[in-house]
């Protein structure tokens, strides 16, 4: 090779080669000298709504921008329906996620009992989560005296009603069950669905069932059913199922209620064909539609009214909850990321991108409509945990049979007694195993 001809001296070539070699060696081994590799966190979450995904991505991106050189987070999501089935596989794998979404109640207990969830009590103390998180959510996180998850979204179940139709029919907000039934009857006579149910996926009807049971027979009875100290065949559980059956037989629900899912049910709701809808506040995402503030139609809420001689109880529960895997090598970093998730800034952003309600009671709710702010305040002031609906409270095997039973009753294919027996048989099997 003629170096002179190419304008490159032998000395220059040797120098350049040496520099290149040194750079390569430095690149291969020297990065560690300059900076330690960041801790890698895997966050496995459930994304039931498109906005859930957008918000999770924002959370991760913002974190990585600020802390990615120290603690880098990678997210992986599964849609709402299939998350439960994927979760088992992920958690028991040899490379489990550091942080993961978990349901509260029965499903959460299964995870805790199988040793997948780290005790977060020390982190609650370290970050002061007790003080800033919704008390109901904090109470729900306790299993065997230890806190196992951090709630990131809280929900309440209330009776949503069409304000404009109420005004048109001259109805007043009911304060008792009888008044509610009288309003429902007037709605029905006006050709409306007194209550929207949208029970295609069989879980929506449980909200009304749980609320009627708690308000009519008391929270202790409901807790007894959930804890297995009262059998599901108890006359009080049968009575509530019979009330639901009667509502269906009297045509109080929308036509084809067992064939319609929540999304399509928004059509008759917005068209003014429904008067009430007892459902969780997670539905606010749908009620809000494309608007920045709720709602696409004039509507408001009231808690499930009281039965004679009873004080009404509003169901406040944790919709989104995050655990740290017991085998995570980076628990401290994971807790730090969790603290970011429930920070004032992140939770306020959640209201902008996702749906209410944040678990952080200090979150700025001013972005929400007056109605949503009122509900958020009521939830924050509701004190400790009230009750969860059945499929959050019990293990999936039991709730699955319960939901089948109630749907069967509503379809007129099963008696309330048989539906509760179906549930009790499964509860007995689970207890035995």
């Amino acid at each position: 090779m003629n170096f002179k001809q190419n304008g490159l001296s032998r000395r220059t070539f040797v120098k350049a080669s040496a520099a290149l070699g040194a750079t390569a060696v430095a690149a291969a081994s020297g990065v560690k000298m300059a900076r330690a590799a960041p801790a890698e966190l895997r966050y496995f979450y459930r994304a039931p709504w498109p906005s859930s995904e957008v918000y999770a991505n924002w959370l991760i991106d913002e974190w990585n921008k600020k802390n990615g050189d120290r603690v880098h987070v990678t997210g992986a999501s599964v849609d709402g329906e299939t998350y439960k089935t994927k979760q088992t596989i992920e958690l028991s794998s040899s490379n489990p996620p550091d942080l993961f979404y978990s349901w509260e109640g029965g499903r959460g207990k299964e995870i805790v009992d199988n040793g997948f969830s780290a005790d977060l009590t020390p982190y609650y103390e370290k970050y002061g989560w007790d003080k800033k998180l919704n008390p109901a959510g904090v109470t729900l996180s306790v299993y065997n005296g230890k806190k196992h998850f951090v709630p990131t979204e809280m929900c309440a179940s209330v009776v949503w009603y069409r304000k404009d139709i109420y005004e048109k029919l001259g109805l007043k907000v009911p304060t008792t069950w009888d008044e509610l039934m009288a309003n429902a009857q007037k709605g029905k006579e006006a050709g409306l669905a007194a209550f929207m149910l949208a029970n295609q996926k069989k879980w929506p009807s449980q909200f009304m069932w749980s609320a009627i049971l708690v308000n009519k027979h008391g929270l202790d009875v409901y807790d007894g059913l959930i804890n297995g100290t009262i059998p599901w065949t108890d006359p009080r559980a049968v009575d509530v199922t019979a009330i639901m059956q009667k509502l269906a037989q009297d045509g109080m629900f929308e036509p084809s209620f067992n064939s319609i899912d929540l999304g399509p049910a928004m059509v008759p709701w917005t068209q003014g064909h429904g008067l009430h809808w007892y459902q969780g506040s997670f539905n606010l995402g749908r009620f809000r539609g494309d608007q920045p503030q709720c709602c696409v139609v004039p509507m408001d809420f009231f808690p499930m009214p009281a039965f004679p001689g009873k004080k009404p109880v509003m169901s406040v529960f944790a919709e989104d909850t995050i655990m740290i895997h017991a085998n995570s090598p980076n628990k401290d970093a994971a807790a730090e990321f969790l603290d970011w998730m429930v920070s004032d800034a992140a939770m306020s952003k959640k209201l902008e991108i996702d749906k209410p309600f944040p678990s952080n009671v200090n979150s700025d709710l001013s972005r929400l409509s007056e109605m949503e702010q009122r509900l958020g305040k009521a939830m924050a002031e509701s004190g400790s945990f009230t009750f969860m609906h059945v499929d959050h409270a019990t293990p999936p095997a039991i709730s699955d049979k319960f939901l089948d039973g109630v749907q069967g009753v509503l379809a007129g294919a099963m008696s309330p007694e048989d539906a509760m027996k179906l549930t009790e048989d499964e509860a007995a099997r689970v207890k035995k195993s």
């Binding site: 088992t88 995870i111 199988n114 295609q200 069989k202 064939s259 399509p264 008759p268 699955d400 069967g408």
Partner: protein, 308 residues
Amino acid sequence: MASSASRFDDGTFVGFARRHVFVTMFGVAVPLLVFACFIGYPIVYTIYLSFFEWNGMAPQKKFVGLANYAYLLHDKYFYIALVNNAKWLIVSLVFPVSLGFLIAYVMKARLVFAPSLLRTIVFFPVTMSLIAVGLMFLLILNPVFGAFDTLLRSVGLGFLVHEWFGDYRIALYTLAVISGWAFTGMPMIFYFAGLGDVPKETFDAARIEGAGHWRMIRSVALPQLRPVTAIIVMLTLFESLRAFDLIAVLTKGAPFGMTNVLGYLVYMESFWNSRFGYGAALSVVILVIAGSLAAVLLGKVLKGAFDV
């Protein structure tokens, strides 16, 4: 060489293997190994798992012997799913298989305009994912804004409008018919190919003898297509037992478990209710049912169908 060949030519597999090393390796050993790893091992492990109680999370499985099978015998959901699978199979045999045959026949007999176009249209759904098919029919049959009900009402057939997925008396048939819609192209293409192998002279002779289309179908086409029918019936049988996708998308077993089939029940029990042992027991039962039905069909109903 000749002497060594004769030395190995003892009529045994070893002899064959020594003479045909490449064929033995890649034609027998490797496929057997692949089968053992990806089919054999899962089957054996499923049978093993069916004797345990396991939630999929606990490190230890609890041996329960035949308890899962005993539970299965008294499980109402199992029987509902079993009967639903039978109904699904019957609908699949009656609707897509018969329709597929008829379409193939009318195309072959040139009784329709543009048979190639028809063939493409009928076969197209076979190429679609059942998940996509399910989502499409979820919209078409929606009781609030579905096109099908609107169409029925607009042509004065409003009395036929039903809760296609919500009415427990018809929901399963709705699913089976949707599945049939997606599957019709498969028997059609098999029969179309099979009819091509039937000698033209046979049809010509029948026509000269004065046979009409019905007679030709009954006396010429169907007997000649027995091997094809055997394959299609077997495929339909296994397709029916594997039914899962449409149920997962459209009903999830609702209303109250009345649209559960065995495949979906396995999924529900294993992954939703965290009963992997019981799910495995159900899988073993599906295996036994599929094997038994295949044996009966091939040994009795379709005996000799492949002897061509």
